[in-house]
């Protein structure tokens, strides 16, 4: 299997974690190609974790929801844990009203929390640096 890179959806490797994100302008074909490429990369890079940032998604309909659930299942079968991070609150409300629970899909408030759950932690701050708030 030789999945072609999905246009506009880079997949980065950080140690044994793959980091990627979905863009709002995804059509169905791109979503399917993305699933294929990600599963190929999990095997090729021997990834143990996958972080999918979805903070750019303005809606999640049942097609995208199904894709996320299938992706999670496929990754688990390949030995990797998927965390979907950064869902917008209106998207969460709409999904709940649609009756879609994203069963089996692990979520995190944002990419930082997701990476922490996958074993990545912030380096200690250099002494003397002023802490700042509100990096979006």
């Amino acid at each position: 299997m030789n999945a072609r890179p999905t246009p506009g959806v880079p997949i980065l490797r950080l140690g044994d974690v793959l980091v990627t994100g979905l863009l709002n302008e995804l059509d169905d074909a791109t979503v399917v190609a993305f699933t294929e490429e990600l599963t190929t990369r999990i095997t090729a890079d021997r990834a143990r974790g996958v972080l999918i940032d979805i903070s750019r998604l303005e809606i999640i309909d049942s097609f995208v929801a199904r894709t996320l659930m299938e992706l999670t299942t496929m990754a688990r079968l390949l030995g990797a844990r998927v965390i979907v991070a950064g869902m917008r609150p209106p998207v969460a409300m709409t999904l709940a009203e649609l009756g879609l629970r994203l069963a089996g899909v692990e979520t995190a408030l944002n990419a930082e929390h997701g990476m922490a759950a996958l074993g990545w932690h912030q380096s200690p701050r250099p002494s003397g640096e002023v802490p700042h708030e509100g990096t979006r």
């Binding site: 309909d61 409300m93 709409t94 009756g99």
Partner: protein
């Protein structure tokens, strides 16, 4: 390539007066539009058009998300089960409220058992079976008509208080 000076010039002038942010609503109701549902690209174009329409009505961000999601489900139904069709976007009004109405029309085989089709988890295709029932819950009004000779029309409306 266009030079930067060519953007934001004459291209936008005169076509529309909405500022894309709401909640300013002019008294004049906007014209209805009809889009075709033939390809996957059309599904994306419909999401854009419906998002713009929700901004024009002045919906909250949550209502915008509800309506665009419902539109996506219904358009996909027409594309997958109905072999394509059309979606009409209208701006109904009633005392004290403005709304957005979507009418999705397809020429597919029709729905044999509407009650079953509205039940979560029921599907005859590859989806999750939440499309129709979900769209019903996301909108204020929902009406579905299916004809013996084929074809299904779903009309949904969401209202925003002025």
């Amino acid at each position: 390539m266009k030079g930067p000076g060519e953007y934001g010039g004459t291209g936008r002038a005169g076509t529309t007066t909405l500022n894309g942010r709401g909640p300013e609503r002019s008294g004049a109701p906007a014209e209805s539009t009809v889009l075709t549902v033939r390809t996957e690209q059309d599904l994306l174009a419909i999401r854009h058009a419906v998002r713009d329409a929700t901004l024009q009505v002045g919906f909250s961000i949550v209502d915008q998300t509800r309506v665009v999601t419902a539109a996506s489900e219904l358009a996909r139904n027409a594309y997958v089960h109905g072999g394509g069709g059309t979606i009409r976007i209208e701006y109904p009004t009633r005392p004290g409220a403005v709304g957005l109405r979507l009418t999705v029309d397809d020429a597919g085989p029709g729905i044999a058992d509407i009650d079953a089709a509205l039940t979560d988890g029921y599907t005859t295709g590859a989806g999750l079976g939440h499309g129709l029932g979900g769209a019903q819950r996301l909108m204020d009004e929902f009406e579905i008509r299916t004809r013996d000779g084929g074809g299904t029309t779903v009309t949904v409306t969401r209202w925003a208080d002025r």
